[in-house]
């Protein structure tokens, strides 16, 4: 009996220790005495604790586990949820350049025409791309990555951004298929917008026929011809079945209308990317429940506006033109505000915007775009997470959320702020403060 009791206790103890050992294989980490900015709240002198890539505690009065590695912010650092890029091209190889027209320009291979929806950034990522580190330095910890190219460059894969290690930090593969109104390079079909429109239709028709033959082949015995397995067409099946959305890069009012036409005919789900003139179609976007991962590649202010010199040849016509230019500028920089007012779901996508332009454009959105700091933070975090389908796991700083956040020296909207720590899925990357760098060291 005594032996049995001893054995039981031993087993119980072993179980407890082994469980603890399993659960605490990675020590906890924490930042204390930091200002924490969640969506809608600010916690002064706060603490954030995480373990195994998950936030375990956050707030003012938080007990820090005994095994935690703690960094003290000295009440001068600011913690923000990691920024999420809804469609970035970081790490994408450059598209192949073609000097010659194909043998039959009207009938190029799918590759030559820029139609490769089966390609995955996860397999093609150029890990040495400096953007993957620079992105962290600008507050990004997660990004949906696409590939550069033309009509259908490939799939969208979701990554935790972590410098060169990003390739191994895949959160989700194939969350969408990138699509554009971009014709093939040089003299190859499709070379025009109308050609691209026709090509989308034909791809869907061909995919439908191939899929049908595959279904028939699988359902009957012999005497039926084996179907093709063209991977370009197979990659479109989930889009046709509305299991995967198109991430469609569109900017102009008219092209958004063209996208609606295709959507009505072919019946796919879509997330609009870039959408510089999306405000002109705000009501219809809302009606169709199409979210917009908006670009903040804002126009430069009209050059005469920033030029101090008085124009001596200012005619009535020119003056009128300037007035209209200012109206157009204002309309462009208030795109996001108008979309939000119309009730459209708006997130963020860089879609090729240089990270070095980020801060300048955020300032413009604050000063002239009619957006508040909270709205901009939400755009870069929660709203984008929601659109990508990850709103329950990231985009905010909450217990149970993925530990992806950035520690800034000052509030993120301030001009001379910089990221000291980037925490991506719990892993910490430390950066040298911008102020301690020699001149010339600055990024981009």
């Amino acid at each position: 009996m005594k032996l049995a009791r001893t054995v039981t206790i031993c087993i119980a103890l072993l179980m407890v220790f082994s469980l603890q050992a399993g659960a605490q294989s990675a020590p906890a980490q924490a930042f204390k005495n930091v200002t924490i900015h969640t969506n809608g709240n600010t916690i002064e002198s706060g603490t954030i604790v995480w373990r195994n890539g998950v936030i375990t505690a956050i707030g003012e009065e938080v007990s820090i586990p005994f095994d935690a590695y703690v960094r003290d912010g000295g009440d001068s650092l600011h913690v923000y949820p990691g920024f999420i890029d809804g469609m970035a091209l970081w790490g994408s190889p450059e598209p192949k350049e073609y000097d010659e027209a194909p043998d039959e320009p009207g009938n190029p291979t799918y590759e030559r025409a820029g139609i490769q929806p089966f390609r995955h950034p996860a397999s093609l990522l150029e890990v040495k791309d400096k953007s993957l580190v620079k992105a962290q330095k600008h507050g990004f910890t997660t990004a949906a990555l696409g590939l550069k190219g033309q009509m259908l460059p490939g799939q969208i894969d979701l990554f935790f951004i972590n410098g060169e290690k990003t390739q191994n930090y895949i959160l989700d593969r194939g969350i969408g298929v990138l699509a554009q109104f971009e014709g093939a390079q040089g003299a190859a079909y499709p070379s025009t917008l109308m050609g691209v429109m026709a090509q989308y239709r034909q791809l869907f028709y061909d995919a439908k026929a191939q899929m049908q033959q595959q279904v028939y082949f699988a359902s009957v015995g012999g005497s039926y011809p084996a179907p093709d397995h063209e991977r370009v067409l197979e990659a479109l099946y989930p889009v046709m079945k509305q299991q995967q959305p198109f991430y469609f890069v569109v900017n102009s009012d008219e092209n958004i209308e063209r996208l609606f036409t295709l959507q009505d005919e072919l019946g796919f789900d879509v997330i609009l990317v870039s959408g510089k003139e999306a405000y002109k179609k705000a009501d219809e976007l809302k009606e169709r429940n199409i979210p917009v991962l908006v670009s903040i590649d804002l126009p430069e202010k009209p050059e005469w506006k920033t030029d101090d010199k008085e124009d001596e040849n200012l005619t009535d016509e020119k003056e009128h033109f300037r007035k209209r230019q200012m109206e157009a500028y204002k309309a462009d920089v208030t795109n996001i505000k108008k979309l939000l007012e119309a009730g459209v779901k708006v997130g963020y996508a860089s879609n090729g915007l240089k990270l070095s332009k980020l801060h300048e454009n955020i300032s413009t959105l604050l000063d002239e775009g009619g957006l508040s700091e909270d709205q901009i933070l939400k755009l870069f975090t929660k709203s984008t997470a929601d659109i990508l389908g990850y709103g329950q796991k990231m985009g905010d700083l909450k217990k149970g959320h993925i530990a992806s956040f950035s520690v800034f020296t000052k509030p993120f909207i301030e001009k001379d702020t910089s990221v000291l720590y980037s925490v991506s899925n719990g892993e910490v990357m430390e950066f040298e403060p911008e102020s301690s760098k020699k001149s010339g060291d600055k990024d981009e």
Partner: protein, 464 residues
């Protein structure tokens, strides 16, 4: 029944999807050039909700309908340009000898300032054409020049669908010489058309057979499933041409190639077609008349390439005298501003009557575009697309003063502001935005070949 309900539902949707503005106006005391019923002095034209409802003297305006005094002026139907490339995003999907699957409907730029300038020249409807780089190009789009409206709102609702064909130097240069694919010669052009029509016939039959077999298989009336025949947009459009649902507008110059195409069309039973440019059409005018073929020509534009050296300013007049429905077109953002002068040249050179000359820019192009039941003349029941001219439209001194489409005024010389651009880019320099079509393209610009990147060097032709 289900199908009918679906159809009604689809129709309601299409009607609701965009609204084309309709207006009302009473234009009083003008000399009304009806085109189809002579000129009427001191006459009023009443347009209500976009449609001409009354033509007569001493008409009174219903409540709320504005009155415009046209005393001493001429009122004419809006000019129709059967060959235009203004308001286009792209003109040529030049990469394949046959691109029937593309349509200019999807290449409309509603913000093009040239639309406004065309309105200022009294033009209210254009045939926005695909270019001439291919033997069978894309489908064309008939547009009403509702400047400031969306692409959908600019459509000429219910207009006949047409498609661009091209013969001669352009397609052989691009595809034969440039890309090393058929057609290299005019013989090849004919063969490309025939082989594609044959393919379209096969396609329609095979596709139909497949759909029927699929249905039978799904209903258990057939044991083995059929092998799918994918829907093919290109061949579908070609089959529609063969069935008469789409009319052909063919870029052509030489009499021999015009005759060739009529023979090909005879073989395939195609009946509705117009030869565009057709500089040598006068040589085969009786044959055109016999076939019921139409011609849409320049008044006096020629010698810009080898195949257009044999030309004459009498072309339109000869065709007209032979009973060929003939229109004068622009193919240019410059000529479109004074198509009235272009029509007047047929009076000056060929002795055509003024009435017939005016038909060449109104009812005749309307017939060629299949919209003559709606526009091209001032008649009760037709669309209120009219233009008020300061004098007789064929006079060199006359200018368009106001242009109406469905009773809505889109141009008024007395209220012509300095800047009518619809879109202003905040980043553009003012001087860059002030160029005109003819400054960019010149009169002999590349209208029909826009986008097909060809240049001529000491070593011959080069495609970019």
């Amino acid at each position: 029944m289900k199908k009918i309900l679906l159809l009604v539902f689809a129709l309601c949707l299409s009607l609701n999807s965009y609204a084309q503005e309709m207006g009302s106006v009473l234009i009083k005391n003008g000399t009304v050039i009806t085109i189809t019923n002579g000129n009427k002095a001191d006459t009023d034209v009443l347009i209500e909700d976009g449609i001409i409802t009354k033509i007569g003297r001493n008409l009174s305006a219903p409540n709320g309908v504005p009155v415009v005094d046209a005393s001493g002026k001429y009122v004419m139907p809006g000019i129709i340009d059967a060959h235009s490339h203004i308001a286009a995003v792209d003109v040529n999907e030049w990469t394949n000898p046959v691109t029937a699957e593309v349509t200019m409907e999807e290449s409309v730029n509603p913000n093009d300032i040239n639309i406004y300038w065309a309105l200022a020249g009294g033009v209210t409807t254009i045939n926005l054409m695909h270019g001439s780089a291919n033997v069978i190009g894309g489908r064309n789009e008939t547009l009403k020049l509702r400047y400031g409206a969306s692409v959908d709102e600019m459509r000429f609702d219910g207009a006949q669908q047409t498609i661009k064909f091209a013969l001669g130097e352009n397609p052989t240069r691009v595809h034969g010489q440039g890309f090393g694919v058929k057609p290299r010669t005019r013989m090849g052009v004919a063969q490309v058309i025939r082989s594609h029509f044959d393919a379209a016939i096969d396609y329609r039959r095979n596709r139909q057979n497949y759909l029927e077999a699929k249905k039978a298989y799904e209903n258990g009336e057939r044991e083995m499933p059929p092998v799918p025949v994918a829907r093919n947009l290109r061949l579908e459009v070609l089959a529609d041409i063969l069935e008469g649902d789409i009319w052909v507008h063919c870029h052509s110059y030489r009499a021999d190639e015009i005759t060739m195409l009529m023979r090909v069309f005879d073989d395939y039973g195609i009946e509705n077609y117009t030869f565009q440019h057709a500089n040598e059409a006068f040589k085969v005018a009786p044959e055109l008349r016999k076939h019921g073929a139409h011609a849409s020509v320049f008044s006096d534009w020629w010698a810009y390439k080898f195949e257009v050296y044999y030309s004459t300013a009498y072309n339109a007049s000869i065709l007209n005298a032979n009973g060929v429905i003939t229109s004068i077109n622009s193919d240019s953002g410059e000529l479109i501003r004074h198509l009235n002068h272009e029509a007047a040249k047929t009076v000056h050179y060929g002795g055509t009557t003024k009435q017939d000359a005016l038909k060449m820019i109104t009812i005749n192009p309307a017939i060629q575009l299949g919209i003559d039941d709606r526009v091209g003349s001032i008649e009760v029941g037709k669309d209120g697309d009219v233009v008020i001219w300061s004098g007789h439209p064929l006079s060199i001194y006359s200018i368009a003063q106001a242009s109406y489409i469905n009773g809505v005024k889109y141009f008024d010389r007395s209220e012509d502001p300095n800047d009518m651009r619809l879109e202003v880019n905040p980043e553009t320099n003012f001087n860059e935005t002030a160029t005109r079509w003819y400054e960019e393209n010149g009169r002999h610009g590349e209208s029909c070949m826009q986008g097909a990147k060809i240049s001529f060097t000491a070593n011959g032709m080069k495609l970019h």
